[in-house]
């Protein structure tokens, strides 16, 4: 649909022999909203910094519009960045923060002369930007007097006023509270569509990634685990890591008996997956919401409820099947200790090839201890920051 704008080709990044990015290949289309998603330390911020020009890859090339830009410094790239915690200039007011980039004389590519914008043009463009980010009347305010959400908007305006081809956003909503984060997600999507700019967005928040992006790149341990649309990533995860990181997943060892037939717990189930070897060991993903609870007698599998948590819209229940604990989301109340049966439709199964992540995720046996981590919506941005600083130390 649109043309390729940025390409990372075999990019490797190592700090003192510590490989942070391992042979990344990625292309980004014009006007795309692409999200780099992964846990802290997965290399997503490093990828962003390579595109922004703040770091040069140890190996590999970066192309912008077909031109190799490995050695082009940040100030010569048609790319602007919204930094984690905004990095607004504290000694300047809102207007001057946004006007900052416009006041730097730029070299005209045709005449090779430095061009300075007139005061009227700067004023006009800043005011226009303030309107876009919905901060009319804030131009005289000091940035330290603004709330987190407002500072966020100033940071976006400051980057967008330069009319970049690409906007990089490094966990821009990490420091905001949940409600504000939802509002800003819509706002960002709206701005992206209105201005027709490529957004490259870094986050650890899978929900944010799924709801905003055209394309999601899931990363872990410096490698790309999967690239796809949000639907692809959720419905067709490539390995246990992706299945576990995006949403909740029960991941079970299975054997592919034939096309469309998968065996778990020594029982055969109908599924939609094809193209595996006969009797190939596989990982089977079953999403908690794809499981129907029925009477024990009518169930395809029978289990015992060991834990019930009320979540508002539904119950999270942990069910023990032959020693393996599943997470199931249901609107029917099943008391702890009750015996239930379950039914899963063929499209509820997703079969994946075995990977290095097999057996590491998707078991809810240690549910109660793990639960705080898994369901933590109020993630601590400091933690991410620390890991990034630790990285910076090594540069």
């Amino acid at each position: 649909m649109s043309k390729e704008l940025i390409r990372l080709s075999n990019c490797t990044m190592a700090f003192d022999g510590d490989v942070v990015l391992d042979n990344i290949n990625l292309y980004i289309n014009d006007q795309e909203f692409l999200t780099l998603l992964g846990p802290s330390g997965c290399g997503k911020t490093t990828t962003l910094r390579i595109i922004g020009g703040f770091q040069t890859p140890t190996k590999g090339d970066v192309f912008f519009d077909g031109v190799r830009i490995n050695d082009v410094p940040p100030h010569k790239r048609a790319i602007n960045t919204v930094f984690q915690r905004y990095a607004l200039f504290p000694h300047l007011n809102v207007f001057e923060n946004i006007a900052f980039g416009l006041r730097i004389p730029k070299v005209d590519p045709e005449t090779k002369r430095k061009v300075k914008l007139s005061e009227e043009e700067i004023h006009e463009r800043v005011m226009e930007m303030l309107h876009v980010v919905n901060l009319n009347g804030f131009e005289k305010r000091s940035v330290s007097s603004l709330s987190g959400g407002q500072q966020q908007r100033v940071a976006i305006a400051r980057a967008l006023v330069n009319r970049p081809k690409v906007l990089l956003l490094d966990e821009p909503l990490g420091a905001l509270d949940l409600r504000l984060r939802k509002d800003m997600q819509n706002e960002l999507k709206r701005i992206q569509q209105a201005m027709g700019i490529t957004f490259i967005y870094v986050t650890h928040d899978q929900e944010e990634a799924l709801s905003m992006s055209d394309t999601v790149v899931v990363m872990d341990e410096g490698k790309i685990q999967q690239i796809g649309t949000p639907e692809d990533i959720y419905n067709e995860p490539k390995n246990a890591f992706v299945a576990d990181f995006i949403g909740e997943s029960n991941i079970i060892d299975g054997i592919m008996r034939a096309d469309g037939v998968v065996e778990i717990f020594n029982r055969r189930f109908q599924c939609l997956d094809k193209g595996f070897e006969k009797d190939e060991p596989v990982d089977v993903v079953i999403r908690p919401e794809d499981v129907d609870i029925v009477d024990e007698a009518a169930g395809q599998l029978k289990g015992t409820v060991t834990n019930v948590t009320f979540k508002g819209m539904h119950y999270d229940i942990i069910v023990d099947f032959y020693g393996f604990k599943w997470l199931i989301q249901t609107t029917d109340f099943c008391p702890e200790g009750s015996h239930i049966g379950i039914k899963i439709d063929p499209d509820g199964f997703h079969v994946m090839k075995k990977s290095q992540y097999s057996g590491m995720f998707g078991d809810y046996s240690s549910y109660s201890e793990e639960y705080d981590e898994i369901g933590d919506a109020t993630y601590d941005p400091e933690q991410e920051e620390d890991s990034r600083e630790a990285l910076d130390e090594e540069e």
Partner: protein, 286 residues
Amino acid sequence: MSKKNSVWSRLFMALVFLFLYAPIFLLIIFSFNEGNSSAIWKGFSLKWYGELFQDRLIMQSVYTTLLVSVLATLIATVAGTFASIGFYNMKRRWREPLVTINNIPMMNADIVTGVSLCLLFVAAFGAWNGFVSWMETTYRLTAPRLYQGFGTLLIAHIAFNIPYVILSVSPKLRQMDKNLIDAAQDLGCTWMQAFWKVALPEIKPGIISGMLIAFTMSIDDFVISYFTAGATTSTLAMTIYSMTKKRVSPEINAVSTLLFGAVLLLLVIVNVMEAHQAKQQAKKYS
């Protein structure tokens, strides 16, 4: 009981302050004494201040002191600021030992710094002068011989001022958002432009207070100056010292009073500035 305690503690406090400040007040009072005794009050007069400004030796050394302090402060401020930036950009395992090394000269006894600088100059100039003599005798080429004097005094002052500037600028850099310079570069600045436009305004308070501390250190230094100024150059502190050897002239009281006043003024400026900054910080994060 507690009332009694408070009386005693107040008395103790008064004694401490008396002990600290009585000599200085005595000095200030007797600088206005009509007679030339440091013990008997003969009436108020500005006579010694008048004589002070007539005394060419003292005026010359005031000029030397001011010149060396101003120059050393300016050079040390620039060098110290860039050194701080260097430290800031270093990896931690290099930075930490270097910061410690930077702190040592401040804690080191002045006498050690003075003597070691003196030795360095003597050794370096001795080698150079020897080389010049050898050139003269063998090749009939000549070059100026070097001796301790204003130059070495200036170098010594710069050397002992730099750590104070670094000590005062470094925390400001660490407080600065790590991404600010990146952000400025991202918006089209070269590194140098980013430094001037963004980092400098952020660390300016640190630079100014570092500068004032350096200046006060420089203006009242005696020990290091004594060992590095050579035979012909003399700072005010050195001149006063040599005057006390002959006889205690009330001129010394006058010049000491002025010196005390100048340093006091600078300290007040530093403190007011720091209080102002603390207020601003409090405002920013409230």
